[in-house]
């Protein structure tokens, strides 16, 4: 069992965003991911919904959670820690681990090592000692938990330390752990000790590979070595970039194909790796190496993403640390190699050949038209059809495990949204239009949402823009039927985002239906039901 130091920076997303000194929270998918100390004092907690957080602390600053930014900001911390140990393993941005034996001997014991680590990290992020927690225990899992409490668990005492902890701490440590934890709680095993007391063979028989691994973790037997053995050399993949890549995009694109190559090499031997060492070298010989850890098997896309983060931090870093030339060599070294236990394809659906073909084609299309132009739809919330589903870059989404139905609220109504069916063509920005009543007077809507007169004629693409391609473009057309106005007053508390508008559905004489919007006395055609 290897003595391991784990370092956790508290509230790392907040620290990375530079918002420590005020009430702020990092948000992802409408939930709080991390919250600053002032925000916490106001009662905001992790996993809270945005609206609840704002209710408890109206002045809270909401930051979008950005793993790339977190990883970039963590780079200086790792560089500082490298003065203590040359090989730092990054679990996730804000959390890292390394072997304790050598440094502990050098600094004269584990307690001096802890204070040294704390000093180094606090220096590099420029904050007080409370900002970082350091723990030492046997194996990375126990050390990670020890760091939560800021403890040094004596050698051999890790099982005793782990025993009283709740079983929920296993969540995230192994594959499919959420379900496993759920089952264990229902079986009455509420602490790690109770789970560890089971016979290992029984656990393997009942819960399979992932269960056996979780059992090993719970009993303090984290068998994974922090510094893994030197891998077989033929698994290492590398590529020379000529000319050297000055921009992250170029290097990351090369890394993506490299990651695929690594993945193919591993899978041809039935292996998977649990960490990957990313080695980048510039034309002037500067070297940057990082070990990234990923529980379970790393997919090719996940490797490429980490390469992008790391290079982003280096190439766009502060002037002092930025390399003096472009990146000339990229090398991926798989570590923590283990037999790939494989994955059972779902009986109903799951990944098919068509899915894999499509994911490859996306890479091909990205190279043709640029990565910004290849997009996939993602559900968001909103009252306008262009907000309810937005297009995001395809390479920022893990297409292998994609589910578009967003969360438990999907399918619930949006108060003030448009009635179904939704328009099939969206104009963004809207096409300026004119709507008049039978007397030829422009139609308006009063402050109380009453329409001045029934609309009689519509002209879409007024003035010089009438040459547009829409079928409704050009001259005046009679209104056959209309519905509205449906007034909406959005974000009245924010002067820059305030929207006050009335929406109409108008069916024209030929049967074409349009969504017309009146805002500040101007009509626009925002969508068409074609």
């Amino acid at each position: 069992m290897i003595r391991t130091v784990a370092v956790r920076c508290h509230r790392w997303p907040i620290v990375a965003a530079g918002a420590v000194d005020r009430a702020s929270a990092a948000m992802h998918a409408n939930r709080v991911v991390a919250v600053s100390e002032l925000g916490e004092r106001a009662g905001v907690m992790v996993a809270m919904r945005k609206r609840d957080a704002q209710r408890r602390c109206p002045s809270i600053e909401l930051i979008d959670h950005d793993p790339g930014r977190d990883a970039r900001a963590f780079e200086p911390v790792i560089r500082a820690l490298e003065s203590i140990h040359p090989r730092i393993e990054i679990t996730e941005p804000g959390v890292c681990a390394f072997g304790a034996r050598g440094p502990a001997r050098y600094f004269g014991g584990e307690l001096p090592l802890v204070s040294q680590v704390r000093y180094v990290v606090c220096q590099s992020i420029g904050m007080g000692h409370g900002a970082v927690a350091v723990g030492i225990a046997d194996g990375p899992f126990a050390a990670w938990l020890a760091a939560l409490k800021g403890l040094v668990v004596p050698a051999g005492e890790s099982p005793t330390f782990l025993a009283p902890l709740p079983i929920g701490t296993l969540a995230g440590a192994v594959d499919d752990s959420v379900n496993l934890v759920d089952v264990l709680i229902r079986l009455g095993l509420r602490t790690l000790g109770a789970f560890a007391a089971l016979d290992a063979n029984d656990v393997l028989a009942r819960f399979g590979w992932a269960g056996a691994r979780a059992h090993a973790l719970a009993s303090g037997g984290d068998a994974r070595l922090l510094d893994a053995n030197v891998p077989m050399p033929d698994l290492v993949v590398s590529t020379m970039l000529d000319p050297p890549a000055e921009r992250v995009d170029v290097a990351a694109f090369a890394a993506k194909s490299l990651a695929h190559e690594l993945h193919d090499g591993l899978s041809a031997r039935g292996l998977a790796c649990s960490q990957v060492l990313i080695h980048a070298q510039t034309a002037n010989g500067e070297i940057l190496e990082r070990v990234w850890r990923h529980e379970g098997a790393l997919s090719a896309g996940a490797v490429a993403e980490r390469v992008r983060w790391q290079l982003d931090g280096w190439l766009n870093g502060a002037v002092g640390v930025r390399p003096t030339a472009g990146i000339a060599l990229l090398r991926l070294v798989p570590e923590g190699i283990m037999a790939d236990v494989g994955r059972q394809l779902g009986f109903w659906g799951g990944t098919t050949a068509a899915d894999e073909r499509a994911v490859r084609a996306i890479a091909r299309l990205s190279s043709l038209v640029g990565p910004d132009s290849v997009m996939v739809p993602e559900r968001r919330g909103g009252r306008h059809p262009s907000n309810a589903v937005v297009l995001v870059r395809a390479d920022s989404v893990d297409l292998d495990k994609r589910v578009v139905a967003a969360g438990p609220m999907a399918g619930c109504p949006w108060p003030g949204g448009l009635p179904l069916p939704s328009p099939s063509v969206l104009h963004s920005p809207g096409v300026p239009s004119e709507v008049v009543d039978a007397a030829g007077v422009p139609v308006g809507v009063s402050g109380r949402g009453v329409v001045s007169a029934p609309p009689a004629s519509v002209r879409v693409g007024a003035g010089s823009r009438s040459a547009g391609g829409s079928r409704a473009g050009g001259g005046w057309r009679k209104v056959a039927a209309w519905a509205g106005p449906w007034p909406i007053d959005e974000r009245w508390w924010d002067a820059s985002a305030h929207l006050r508008r009335a929406r109409f559905q108008i069916v024209l004489d030929g049967g074409d239906a349009l969504l017309l919007v009146l805002e500040r006395g101007r009509w626009t055609c925002e969508a068409a039901y074609e």
């Binding site: 073909r357 996939v376 059809p385 096409v431 829409s470 039927a481 209309w482 239906a513």
Partner: protein, 266 residues
């Protein structure tokens, strides 16, 4: 035992007959690709639009309405086919983008949708870069939706051939009907000849459903022009071919106006 003995062929004719049945059975259970698998399923309401009752792989379809295109590909998308939509930017303000909320309502599985917006730099002045993008998409995706693009006739023929070769369906959405579009010479061409919305009145109600008369033209099996009436969408968002079991629904929807079903959206 007596029943089993009866099945033993007695004469040469009977033996031939049995062999013929066996051959037919072998063909049915053989692992080769059958003609039926060359047809991608479409929802019940759209079956009448196609002479084969579904989307034939390798064929080209020209549609004038995006919502009809969504309705046609929905079933294939739900059964695991990927959809690639290529938007070519079009002619500025009046062209508009496809509404994916609407697509989801028609049943398109958004997790298997990829949207490519061909940037002006790639597109070039006369659409030079578009064929490369479309043919790359045809290589990998089952259904490729291309909206509003004008190409040289040579490129159009080449892309149709590519779709046939790759067993993909090329669907050209041409809201402005043009002879130079990708849908020129398509196997099936679907145009709206008439449409009527129901559910909206004079200042009350909301768009709810519409009956559309689609004129079907095309080549080969679809060569005889036909008119098919479809509901697009029906009240539950689904699609139904007009059939005799709901003759009253049209009149009912039109006369009631559905004033009660709306409520203010505010």
């Amino acid at each position: 035992m007596a029943g089993a003995a009866q099945r033993v062929p007695q004469t040469q004719e009977e033996a031939d007959e049995t062999r013929r049945l066996l051959d037919a059975l072998t063909a049915k259970v053989s692992p080769t690709v059958l003609a039926g698998q060359q047809i991608m399923p479409v929802s019940v309401g759209c079956r009448d639009l196609f002479p084969e009752g579904g989307l034939r792989r390798g064929s080209t379809v020209a549609v004038t309405s995006p919502s009809l295109a969504f309705a046609i590909v929905a079933q294939a998308s739900q059964t695991g086919s990927w959809l690639c939509a290529i938007e070519c930017g079009g002619t500025g303000a009046a062209s508009g983008a496809l509404g994916w909320v609407s697509a989801a309502e028609y049943g398109v599985a958004l997790e298997r949708v990829v949207v490519v917006r061909v940037p002006a730099g790639v597109r070039g002045a006369s659409g030079d870069g578009v064929p490369a993008v479309v043919s790359a998409a045809l290589d990998a995706f089952d259904v490729v939706l291309v909206s509003d693009v004008v190409l040289a006739p040579r490129d159009v023929r080449r892309l149709h051939h590519r779709a046939r070769e790759r067993n993909a369906v090329l669907m050209a959405v041409e809201r402005v009907s043009s002879l130079a579009g990708l849908g020129a010479g398509a196997d099936v061409r679907l145009e709206f000849s008439q449409q009527q919305w129901h559910g909206v009145g004079q200042g009350h109600g909301a768009l709810e459903r519409r009956s559309v008369t689609v004129s079907v033209q095309g080549r080969r099996a679809a060569a005889r022009p036909r008119d098919v009436v479809v509901w697009l969408p029906n009240t539950d968002g689904s699609l139904h071919s007009d059939s005799l079991d709901q003759p009253g629904s049209l009149a009912q929807a039109g006369s009631l106006g559905w004033a009660g079903s709306l409520g203010w959206a505010g």
